[in-house]
Symmetry: C2
Subunit: 235 residues, 2 copies
DNA sequence: AGCTCATAAATTGTATACGATATCGAGATT
DNA sequence: AATCTCGATATCGTATACAATTTATGAGCT
C-alpha cells in the first residue's frame, strides 16, 4: 500500500472539527449566542463539554487561529471583538475574493449543487419566518461558504470560511437594522445566475451584495454584556 | 485602566510566534532544509528544542493550521506535500490577492517602507550571489509579505503570509530551473513602481510576476528523501 | 519463500499535577 | 475617602503520567 486516500479527508477537517470545544464555541458565535468580548474561562469550558483542559486549550488555540477568539498570555481567552477597521478589512477582503468564487461556482456548479443551494436558501427563509434569528444568520453565512466550496478552490474556501466566521462577530457589533431582507433576495438572484451558468453576472451580483452589507454597517457603540456561559453554549 | 493597547500586539503574534517548535520548523521549511513529506515525530522535536510534548503538539497544530504540516490522527505529523492541484490553487489565489496588496502598497508606502524593501532586495541579491539558496528563498518570500504589510490590510497580510509559506513547499516540489533570476529583476521593478506611487503599474507588475512563477512550475515526480531531522533543524 | 496472526515496542491522545502569573480583597497609609 | 501594599485565591502555562492506537517483529502455517 502506497498511500491511503482516506487520510487526505481525515487530515483536513478532523483536526479542529473533532474538538467539541472548537465546534461548540464556533457555532455559538455564528448563531450570536456568544457576544463579542465574552470571557471564555478554561475551567468553565471543561465542565460544559466534559473534557480536560488539554482539549479546551487546543480548541481555544484553533479558534484563535481563525480569529474568533482572542488569547492574551496569562490572562485567558475571550470572544474576539473586531474593531471598525477590522470590519472594513474583512469586507474589503470578501469583496475581493468572493466575486471570484461566485464566478467559478457559476462555471462549475452541477445540478446537485444548485439543488443544495436552493435548499439552503429555503431553510434560511424558513428560519427567518420562524424568527430563529441565530439559525438564519448561520445559514446565511453557510450560503457563502457553500458557493466557495462549489468553486472548487479549497484555498479560497479556507479564506472565505474565516471571513464569513468573522463577519458573524462584525454583524453582532455593527449591524443595527432589521437584517436579511436583502439577503434572501440577493441570494435567490445569485443562485439564478449560477444555475444559468452566467459567471459575469454571478460575480457582479456577489460584489454588490457584499458592498450592500458593508455600507450598511454602523460603527458606533460596542457595549459589553455579561451573561452566563452555560446558557449561551448548551442550548 | 480600560484597555492596555499592548495586549493587541501581544495577542496577535505571540500565540504561535513564541513557540520555538513553530518558529523553528516554519523557518526550516521556508529555507528548504525540511523537504515536503518529512516525518516530524513528537519525541524527536522534544529533544531538539528541549521542550515537552505539550509545546511540540501546540506548535504542530499551529503549523497544521497554516497548512505547512499534515497531521494524521494517531499517526503523527509530517511536512505537507502540496499536490499539483494545491499548487495551482495557491498561485491562483496569489494572483488574485497580491496584485491588490501591491496596488495598496503603492498608494500608502512611506519613504521608510521603500528603504526597507530596497534593503531586503539587496540582501536577497547578496544571498543569491553567496549561493545561500535557502536564505535567498526566504528573503524572496519576505518581500511579498512585506508588501502586504505595507498595504495596511492585516487580513490580506494573513492570507499572503500563508500563501507565501506554502509556496516554499510548492517550489521545493515543482520548481526545477535555476530560479530567482527573474525575481530580483521583478522585485526591483516592483519597488520602483511602488516608490513612484503608481498603483496600476505595481498591480500589473505583481500579477505578471506571479504568473511567471506559476507557469514555470513543472508538475512531475515528487520523490521522497529521508535524512536526519536534527541536521535539518539545528543549523 | 511468502503469508497470517499474535505479541511487544513505539507513538500518539488525554488527563492530571505542579509551578508561575494575575486577580481580588482586607487592612494600613496619606 | 481614596490609594497602596500584601496576602489569599483563582487562573493560566508547562511537564509528566497513563491509556489508546499504531507499527514492528517473529513464530507458525500453507
Amino acid at each position: 500500500m502506497k498511500h491511503d486516500p482516506r487520510f487526505d479527508e481525515a487530515r483536513d477537517r478532523h483536526d479542529s472539527r473533532s474538538n467539541p470545544v472548537f465546534v461548540g464555541v464556533e457555532r455559538a458565535i455564528h448563531e450570536h449566542r456568544l457576544p463579542p468580548g465574552t470571557r471564555l474561562a478554561e475551567a468553565e469550558l471543561c465542565e460544559i463539554y466534559g473534557v480536560s483542559r488539554t482539549i479546551v486549550r487546543a480548541g481555544l488555540q484553533a479558534l484563535t487561529h481563525s480569529q474568533l477568539v482572542t488569547l492574551v498570555p496569562n490572562r485567558g481567552a475571550s470572544v474576539a471583538k473586531p474593531t471598525p477597521s477590522d470590519a472594513q478589512e474583512v469586507f474589503e477582503a470578501r469583496e475581493l475574493i468572493e466575486p471570484r468564487t461566485a464566478r467559478e461556482a457559476a462555471r462549475r456548479a452541477t445540478p446537485a449543487d444548485i439543488e443544495l443551494l436552493r435548499r439552503h436558501s429555503a431553510e434560511e427563509h424558513k428560519a427567518l419566518e420562524a424568527r430563529d434569528y441565530g439559525r438564519s444568520l448561520r445559514l446565511s453565512g453557510l450560503f457563502h461558504t457553500e458557493i466557495a466550496r462549489i468553486s472548487g478552490q479549497k484555498t479560497l474556501l479556507g479564506f472565505v470560511d474565516q471571513l464569513v466566521s468573522r463577519s458573524a462577530l462584525i454583524i453582532a457589533l455593527y449591524w443595527h437594522r432589521e437584517r436579511a431582507r436583502c439577503d434572501s433576495q440577493c441570494h435567490e438572484r445569485l443562485i439564478d445566475a449560477i444555475a444559468a451558468a452566467k459567471p459575469d453576472e454571478a460575480e457582479t451580483l456577489m460584489r454588490s451584495h457584499l458592498v450592500d452589507i458593508h455600507t450598511a454597517l454602523d460603527f458606533r457603540d460596542a457595549g459589553d454584556s455579561s451573561r452566563d456561559l452555560r446558557d449561551m453554549l448548551l442550548p
